[in-house]
Symmetry: C2
Subunit: 201 residues, 2 copies
DNA sequence: CCTTAATATGAATACTGATTCACCTTTCAT
DNA sequence: ATGAAAGGTGAATCAGTATTCATATTAAGG
């Protein structure tokens, strides 16, 4: 039942192909992250990867497909990073704190991430929604169980999850897009204090 | 010292011209907000406005110029809206609360706003930075003076400003992009509790 | 009525860059 | 050694649309 003429881009069959595919993916991350989706030409990506333009279409159906894959990858990598950083921390508020630290550290090391995920809202809305929904779900579950054990005061877990996620995003952006170089530890401490005590004196 | 051939788009001289310009601006808001910058063709915008394509260039230098103007406008309108909603509230935490309510209400009524501002990061980064820097400055000043009077506990005002801004953004997005229809009052109350007490039981 | 500046029109132009394709090279199982 | 299969090439094609421009219409002041 394959469509007759349209050669579907295949998974690489050999290590050589896999390497090229990865080179392309890495180049796409760099170029799209730097110039944005619209400005990033296939030519620039293949040049960065050191292959010919046509090669791109051996591995990807088009520009939008690499982009989607990039968004998916970033979500997975980031989630793993945060999970590792918080593994084994049973105190919810401390886990939140270390999660934030891991997030900000990761973002500082991958500034392109931020742009690519942001741009997904326009290039691939479904990937964008999946990305944030997944994160929100994780946050919410953590908050729900912490509320169940009485570790934190009661309150709508979903709203709180989005609020906390918003804080992390915003502070990542503050650093990466607005170039504010407050040391991560200082940021984390300030936010942790906010999490724990709120603003009221 | 004018460039010889290039007819600079002029401010309208008559009420008729002003009306057309406004129609174009409104159409651009609608179309760009709906389809995104890249997909929004000048043709679609002029069709929506009920004028010919060429008319567009009487009032704007190009697609990017309307976009920038839109971002600037939205910032001004939103700032005025929030200022009006919080005017005369001296308690900082209550002002924060009403500001959030005004913001969420506004965003719910202007879903295109959200997309346009987001997309500015890619289409017109300077406008994007100006938009958020201005907001952050406002937040920060409020927090600083509240800290000075001892109304809130001490802490880095800039980091807190970005954190609060992030919460508002995120909850706006939760509603507009993710379609979560929790009543605004409920959201506001939940976040206010978070502001005041934090998460610790 | 005229005249003229301001507005409006929409077909023609110009450009950009994604995608295709006919052909070449490398790899490796037999 | 050899012939597919996998991988790679890059010039040519093609589509979409922003922008221009020669021309037409409108609206007031004189």
């Amino acid at each position: 039942m394959d469509k007759a003429g349209a050669a579907e881009p295949k998974e690489p069959k050999t290590a050589r192909g896999e390497a090229t595919r990865q080179a392309l993916l890495g180049a796409a991350e760099k170029v799209i992250g730097r110039q944005g989706y619209a400005e990033a030409s296939i030519g620039a990506i293949t040049r960065e990867a050191g292959v010919a333009q046509g090669t791109f279409y051996i591995y990807f159906k088009g520009k939008d497909e690499v982009f989607s894959e990039l968004v998916g990858d970033m979500g997975r990598v980031l989630r793993r990073t945060i999970a590792e950083a918080t593994a084994g921390i049973s105190d919810r508020l401390l886990a939140e704190r270390e999660g934030l630290r891991a997030f900000l550290t990761f973002v500082a090391g991958h500034p392109e991430l931020y742009r690519i995920v942001q741009e997904a809202l326009f290039v691939d809305p479904d990937a964008y929604r999946a990305y944030f929904s997944t994160f929100a779900d994780g946050y919410r579950e953590g908050l729900e169980s912490a509320a169940a054990t009485g570790e934190i005061r009661p309150g709508d877990a979903d709203i709180r999850a989005w609020a906390l996620m918003g804080i992390a995003r915003s502070l990542g952006e503050r650093a990466v897009v607005f170039g504010k170089t407050t040391p991560i530890d200082e940021v984390v401490d300030c936010v942790h204090d906010l999490f724990v005590h709120g603003l009221r004196r």
